[in-house]
Symmetry: C2
Subunit: 201 residues, 2 copies
Amino acid sequence: MTEQHATRHRGRGRRPAAEVRADVLAAAGRLLLHEGLPAVTFDRVAREAGSSKVTLYKWWPSPGTLAAEAYFAQSAPVLRFPDTGDIRADLVAQLTAFVRWLTREGAATPVSELVGAAQTDPDVARAWAEEYARPRRELARDRLHAAQQRGQLREDADLEVIVDQLWGACYHRLLVLKVPFDETLVPRLVDQALYGAARAR
Amino acid sequence: MTEQHATRHRGRGRRPAAEVRADVLAAAGRLLLHEGLPAVTFDRVAREAGSSKVTLYKWWPSPGTLAAEAYFAQSAPVLRFPDTGDIRADLVAQLTAFVRWLTREGAATPVSELVGAAQTDPDVARAWAEEYARPRRELARDRLHAAQQRGQLREDADLEVIVDQLWGACYHRLLVLKVPFDETLVPRLVDQALYGAARAR
C-alpha cells in the first residue's frame, strides 16, 4: 500500500464500511505474514489501509484481535477442506495444505505468535479459539462424521480425538517441540491415525 | 519462605552453590505453580530463596529461563514414565499423570505461559525445547522402541508420530483449542493411537 493509494482513498470521501474492513484485514494480513505479529499495530495498519485509527479502535479491542481475524481471512482460501468421499485422501490433502502453509508459505511465525499471545491475552485467546480453532475443528468433525456414516471409520471412533491426533501433531512440532517438519509427515500421520501403531490383534 | 528464614541463611555465611541453586529453583517453582509466570521475577525469587539477585543474573539469562528450569524440576517427579513391559498400560499411566498435573495440580497455566513465552523469547524457547520437550520425547521414544522390539508395536510404526499424537493431542486442547479436558480422555487417546480409527481392512 502506497501513500498515493491512501490519498486516492481519502479523496473519494466516505467508503462503505465493508470495503474499509476488507482493506484493513488485507493490510493487517500482509503485515502479519511478511513481518510477524509485532508489525500489526493500529498505526501501521491504518496507514497501509488508508483508513483511520479511530475506525480500527471501534472494530477491534486490540491489534492482536485484528491480527487474529486477518489470519483467518488469509488462511481460509488456503485451508479449504476437500470433500471427495474418500476420508484418507481428504485428510491428506487438507493436512498437506496446512503443513505447506506453515512451512513454505510463511504462516509458521504468525501462527506461533498468535497462539503464543493467546496464552496470556484473553481477547486474542477468544478470537483464536472461537473464530478459528474450534470452527476448524467443527469442519473436520463434519468430514469425519460423514466418513463414519459411510463406514470408513469405526462406529466407536472418537472424532475429536482424531482431530487432536492430526492437527495437534503438527502444532506439537511447531509450538512445543520446535522441530522442523514438512508435508512428508502427513501420509504417515494420517495412516497411523486411521490404522493404528499396534500390531494387529 | 519467610524473612526469618532468609536471615538465617545470611547468618550462616556462604552456602554451597548447589544448595543455593536448589533453593532458588524450589522458590521459583512455587511462585510459578501458585501465581504463574509473571510472578517469577529475579527480585521475588531472590527474596523468597534468601539468595542474591546477582547470583540469579549469573546463572540465568532471564526470569523466563529460570522459570522453565524450575518447571522441569517441579514436574520431573510427577511425570515419571513407568516401564512395566505393557506399553498400553505405561502410556495410560504416564499420560494420566500428565493430564492430572495440568488439570488438577495447577500446571495448566504455567505450561501455557511458558509455551506462550517460547513463541517469542528465544531463550525460553531453547530452554523449553532442549531441556524439557525434546528430552521427554526421547524418553517416550525409548519406551515405544522397547515395545516395538517386544512386538507390541508394528515394525513400520513411526514412533515420533505416536508421541505427537498422544502428548500433542493434550497440548492441542490446552493451547490451541482451549477447551477443558480431563484424564478420562487418556484411554481413548491411547487406544486410538494404538488401534486406529478406521474400520478394520
